[in-house]
Each structure stands twice: as C-alpha cells, then as structure tokens.
C-alpha cells in the first residue's frame, strides 16, 4: 500500500464542516486515532473542508456529546472513530435523520440512510504479516514468531486469527514448522509492559514480534533493539496500522497497514461529492484498506517524522534505504511468492475470512488453526 498523496481538485460550493470524534484514548496511539487524523487533515487540504476534533473523556460522555453535536446542525458529517462509538451511535442515529454519521472501524449492524459504517478485514493484513514473519523467523534461524497484543477485544481477535492463519499457511506451503506465541498484555498504553513482554517472548525463542498494542508495542520495538544490540540474538519487529519502520528501520523492516485515514477521507469525500449513501462498507486487501506499507508509504511516514523533528540523524531517504535493504535481506523471494499468492486469493475472493461473533467462536477458530485446520478461519473457500 502506498502513501497515496494524489492531489485532488478542490471542490467548490459552500464550505463543508466535519467533526472528527476520536476514541476515548485520543490521539497518539499510532493507530486508528492518529490515522483518522491523517485522513481528516488530508481531506482538509485536498477537499477544502473544515475539520474540528474532539476527544471524549469517557464512555459516558459519548451519547450526550453526539446528541449535542447532532442537535447543533453545525456539522455536515460526524466521523466517529473506534468501536466504542457503536452503541452510542445506535442510540442516537435514528433521532437525527438529517445528521450524517460515519462510524469507522466498527458497525452498528444496521443500515441507515444517514449512517455509513466503514470497517476493515484485519485478518487479511494479519495473514500476510504472518507469512512474512514466518519467513523472516527462518532467515533469523528460528521457527517462532510472536505478537505483543493489547487487550482481548474483537479487533484483536481478527488480527490473531489472520496472523496465525498466515503462519500456518506458510507452514503448509513450505513444510517448515512455525510456532506462534501470542500474548495479550492487558494494556494499550503501558510501554514498559510492552518492553518486558517482548523480552520474555524473545527469550522463549520468538524471532519476529508483531506489535498490536498501540503505545504498548512501542516498548516492544525498543526491546527488540536492545536484544540485538546486547548481542542476545537476532530479532525483528513489525508494526501495525501506521507505518512504523522509521522508529528503528534496522529492526522494523515492515509494518502492516490499516487505512483508517482512507476510510475517514472517503467518508468525507462522499459528503463533499454528494455521493453519500448509507450502509456498511468493509475494506480489505482488494480495496487497499489493509495491506503492508510499501516503500512509498514508509517514506511518507518518515517524512512526517522528519517534519515533526523526530528523525534526528537520518533523512527519510536513508530510512527507506535501510528498510529496503532489510526487506531484501530478510524477506526472501520465496516468501514474497507465498505472500502474493495468498494476497491474490484474498483479493479475488477465492478465500474469505470469518469474523467471530463471540469470544467462544474466536477461541474455537484459534484452536482449530493451531491444529493446522486452516479452513476453520475461512467463511468461504478453502486451503488444501
């Protein structure tokens, strides 16, 4: 997936006003809140809309804020970021039929003319990352991959399923055994716990760690760096959502993408273009809603970092150069082949992943996958 800075012609007409309502954690999560911000800022620049932001203090604030904003009739669109908004929106949406809502990364399950829900098929990116991680683990001389996950919540179920599927898919294709160590840390904010968890995973033989815990996995990056630099072994890390390679390009050759920014941008664009249509949209590999960041994407985020003064002694180009070398070194062509083949199957709808409805179903799928039954994760299609 690329950075996607294609410039659009400015839309005319009265200026459109949009409020972006973040999740309770607010910006800074390197994940959907930050990505939503990117998308909104892009819409502001390219579509000439007015954007305002708000972070609710707590879950209890969501309904009254939503009502008050809808009642004010000031906003052409309210963009709600994160699954916590699901129930509040469900409560409010019908009362304000003239207010447009976009729910990002979740769905109320209801189709309303004034509501669009955009969610992602995270399994698809996670599956690719699972294959890549497995391939890299073998390059590093091991057979174990790991994940530092946040809390046991539905979006992470999908990542878990996909990641494990990818690992098992790799196993199936290559005959090389892969073991996954998946750890919920119970937090999306405690960086130190991320560090300690990563250290323990590495100690248990994991060679590649996938960060799925927001700020918690920032600590994981650092642990991987320490692990290498202390000479305890070789290991790599992978980020998710935003491109995070620039944090430590030598040790983070690749990150998964989840284009919340695109979702937000598209929702706003629908309003601007007058193509608004309520409904539920899911974005996956095919729609470029998820994927892994290509070098353009890596460069773009490195540029963001540079602008913010975060890249101290590197240029974005150097970041890209290092990432490129590392990818060449650790992701071998045979791995790319598997990745591309799998991606193709997913894109053309040959296989479709299940989305578990309940915790039990999630555990069941995981158990089946562990046993090597890849089809357990699939709603459609099969892997033989």
């Amino acid at each position: 997936i690329g950075g996607g800075t294609q410039t659009q012609t400015q839309t005319q007409g009265k200026s459109i006003k949009v409020a972006i309502l973040f999740d309770v954690g607010g910006r800074g999560d390197l994940s959907f809140n930050d990505m939503a911000y990117l998308g909104a800022e892009r819409a502001k620049k390219e579509l000439g809309v007015k954007i305002e932001y708000m972070t609710p203090k707590s879950k209890e604030d969501m309904v009254p804020l939503l009502e008050q904003l809808a009642k004010s009739k000031e906003y052409d669109l309210l963009v709600l970021v994160g699954f916590l908004w699901t129930t509040p929106l469900n409560e409010v949406a019908d009362k304000y039929p003239d207010q447009k809502f976009a729910l990002i990364d979740s769905t109320t399950g209801k189709v309303r003319p004034n509501e669009v829900d955009i969610l992602f098929r995270e399994q698809e990116v996670a599956a690719l990352m699972g294959v890549i991680a497995s391939g890299m683990a073998y390059e590093l001389g091991g057979d174990t991959i790991g994940a530092v996950a946040g809390m046991d919540i539905p979006p992470l179920w999908k990542f878990h399923i996909g990641y494990l599927f990818g690992a098992k898919y790799f196993e199936k294709k290559t005959g090389k055994h892969v073991k996954l160590l998946w750890q919920y840390t119970g937090t999306f904010g405690d960086t130190q716990v991320g560090y300690n968890t990563a250290m323990q995973l590495l100690q248990q033989g994991a060679k590649v760690l996938y960060g799925l815990a927001g700020l918690t996995h920032v600590g994981m990056f650092d642990a991987v760096k320490d692990w290498n630099e202390q000479g305890r072994g070789k290991a790599l890390a992978m980020g998710q959502d935003a491109s995070q390679e620039w944090y430590a390009p030598k040790y983070i050759p690749i990150s998964g993408a989840k284009r919340v920014d695109v979702a937000v941008y598209d929702a706003i664009k629908m309003v601007v273009d007058g193509t608004w249509k309520g409904g539920i949209i899911t974005l996956g590999l095919k729609e470029n809603g998820v994927g892994y960041w290509d070098l353009d994407g890596v460069k773009q985020f490195a540029e963001f970092a540079k602008e913010a003064g975060k890249l101290k002694d590197m240029t974005p180009d150097e970041v890209v150069e290092i990432v490129k070398q590392q990818r060449e070194k650790y992701i071998k062509p045979y791995v790319w082949e598997i990745v591309n083949e799998l991606a193709e199957k997913i894109k053309n709808g040959e296989i479709v992943f299940k989305t578990p409805k309940s915790h039990d179903e999630y555990e069941q799928i995981i158990n089946e996958l562990e046993k090597g039954n890849l089809n357990a994760a699939l709603k459609k299609g099969s892997v033989e």
Binding site: A19, V24, G26, R27, E52, Y53, M54, T55, P56, K57, S58, K59, E60, D61, V63, P64, L65, Q68, F83, L84, T86, T87, S106, G109, M151, D152, I153, P154, G186, F188, P356, K357, S358, H359
Partner: protein, 337 residues
C-alpha cells in the same frame, strides 16, 4: 452552627479560592499561548449548559467523592473507590440483566461495593495491613478480573465488545428533565450528611477519626469506625457504579473505559468538597462542568485535549490552599480596620 460573621468569611473564602483558581488558570493559559477569555467562555458555555449531561456526569463522581470522604472522616485513606465502583457496576449490571429489577440491582451494587470496602477496612483493623496497599492492589485485581469476566463470560453476543446490557425495564431515566440518578445521588449525599452530623454513628465516626484515644475513652471502638466507614464508603462507590450503569452507559465495554478512573477523580472531588457530603455535591458538579467543557475547548479551539487536564490541574492546585486565602482575607480586613 456557624455564627453569621464566620459564615460570611467561609463564603468569601470559597469565592476567593475559586477566583484565585481561575486567575492562576488564566495565567497558565497565557503562558501556554491560549486566549484565556476564549477558553473560559467555551468552558463555561458548554460545560454547564447541558444540564442533564452535567448532572449525569457528576452523579458517579458524587458517589466516589463520598467513598473517599466518609472513610477520611474516620481516619482511613480510601483510595479504593475505583474497585468498589467496578464491583458495584459489574454486579449491579448482572443483577439488572438477570432480574430486570433496578431496585435489586441498586441494592446488590451498593452492598458489593460496601463489602469490598469492608474487606479493605477489615484487613487494616484485624491484620494491620495499611489500607493504601490493599486498596491499590485490590483496584488492579478487580480491574483485570472484570476485564476477564466481560471478555470471556458476560459479553453481549450482539455487540461483542460490550458486556451484556441492562434491559430497558431496569434502566433509570429522568423525570421532568432532571435525571433520576442524580436525584438519587443527591438524596444519598444528604443522607450521609445527616448520618455524619445528626446520628450517633456519624458522631462516633468523626470522634474516632479525629482522636482515636478520645474515642476509646468514650467507649467507641475506633476499629469499628474504620470498618463501618469503609463499608459506608464502599456502599457509596458501589452505588455510584450501578447508577452509572443503569442510568448512563447501560453496559461495560471490554476495555473498561466506562468505569475506569472515576474512583480516582472521586478523591479530588471529596477533598475539594472539604469532605462534606453537601460540599461534595457542589464540587462534583463544578469539576464535571470543567471536564465536559474541556472537551469542547478542544473542538472549538483545536487545542489538544490535554489543555483541559492542565487547566483542571492548575485550578485544583489553587484550590488546595484555603488557609492561604483565609490569611489573605484576614490581612485585608485587618488592614481596613
């Protein structure tokens, strides 16, 4: 029982405190490069105008404020309002779900909070374990325990990131535009006020807190006071949890966002209310308004949401020094004489 003159100077003291707080806040805003007039305008315009929202928001905080203050009066530092609220919210929710009976849910929530408070108090009294350790540990234990139960056992099959919901018949709404849960909280605070200042139990609590030796001399058992006050505090927090669930959120999400942090905020509320139940009603409304308004400051000025945290911090700091204002008033009045 204050005489006229004393009452007036108490009121001036409070007014001066608040005035100073906002002045210091304004200075802080200027330093940070924001326009104090604009920020305060938004803060007050939006913070205190949506009455139902304001009162709802202050409801659980009144209860966790009481949860801190009642034990504080008896000489115990209850930092465990957090977990007492969790358990009240969770068990209240389960009761409401399985019975559809809000009264029963309120009772179960209140009692469960009370029992957890009692546990902390009893460990202090009978095992000599400092309540600060127990409470902090218990807070986290229940945080993860409830996170587990909601994720694995009591999730809503329809909305997989949430717990089972409160059924409509057990929800508490509003009458005449005023939220019923707020009224309940106020009634409860008044009840505690009465308990403290007009009953033997309250009197014994206060004596025990101020001077355990005198309590013993009078034949009151200071240990009993600790246990009773922790129970009463826990009841308040537990009830706060149920009120939150039955009246506002109707469920708990599996990241526990709905219930996290209220107990800690309650410490500030209780202290700003000078550990007086009636004062707590006001301090809770005051702080809730700031919290609500802070969100709108972000929306309207593009300031990061943490501007509100900063401002609230400065205001609370300025409210921590009533003694200094008392001296200031005295200097001023003396100077005039």
């Amino acid at each position: 029982m204050l005489k006229g003159e004393e009452k007036i100077s108490k009121v001036t003291e409070v007014l001066l405190s608040v005035f100073m707080a906002f002045t210091v806040g304004a200075v802080a805003l200027l330093i940070l490069g924001y326009h104090p007039g604009e920020v305060y305008y938004i803060l007050f315009k939006y913070g205190y105008s949506n009455l139902n929202y304001l009162l709802n928001k202050s409801t659980p905080l009144i209860m966790t404020g009481l949860a801190f203050s009642i034990p504080a009066i008896a000489g115990v530092f209850n930092i465990g309002g957090e977990s007492q609220l969790y358990i009240g919210a969770f068990l209240g929710l389960l009761t409401a779900y399985y019975t559809g009976n809000s009264i029963l849910a309120l009772i179960v929530g209140a009692l469960s909070g009370g029992l957890l408070g009692l546990f902390v108090g009893a460990l202090r009294v009978y095992r000599g374990i400092n309540e600060v350790i127990t409470a902090i540990m218990v807070n986290w234990i229940f945080y993860y325990l409830i996170a587990y139960l909601i994720a694995a056992k009591f999730y809503n099959p329809e909305v997989s990131h949430e717990s089972i919901p409160v059924p409509p018949e057990a929800r508490i709404g509003s009458i005449g535009g005023v939220s019923l849960i707020f009224l309940l909280a106020v009634l409860f605070a008044i009840f505690y006020y009465y308990l403290l200042y007009f009953t033997d139990v309250g009197y014994k609590l206060r004596v025990s807190g101020l001077s355990p030796a005198s309590a013993k001399y009078a034949g009151f058992d200071p240990s009993k006071a600790i246990v009773i006050s922790m129970f009463l505090g826990g009841v308040a927090a537990g009830l706060g949890g149920v009120l939150l669930i039955l009246g506002i959120t109707y469920s708990i999400d599996d990241t526990l966002t709905a219930i996290y942090g209220l107990g800690f905020t309650g410490i500030g509320i209780g202290l700003l209310g000078r550990n007086n139940p009636i004062g707590i009603i006001f301090s809770s409304i005051f702080l809730s308004g700031l919290l609500i308004g802070g969100q709108w400051v972000e929306l309207k000025t593009r300031a990061p949401p943490e501007l509100a945290d900063t401002l609230i911090g400065v205001i609370v700091l300025a409210l921590a020094i009533p003694y200094a204002y008392k001296m200031l008033i005295k200097k001023f009045t003396e100077g005039r004489k």
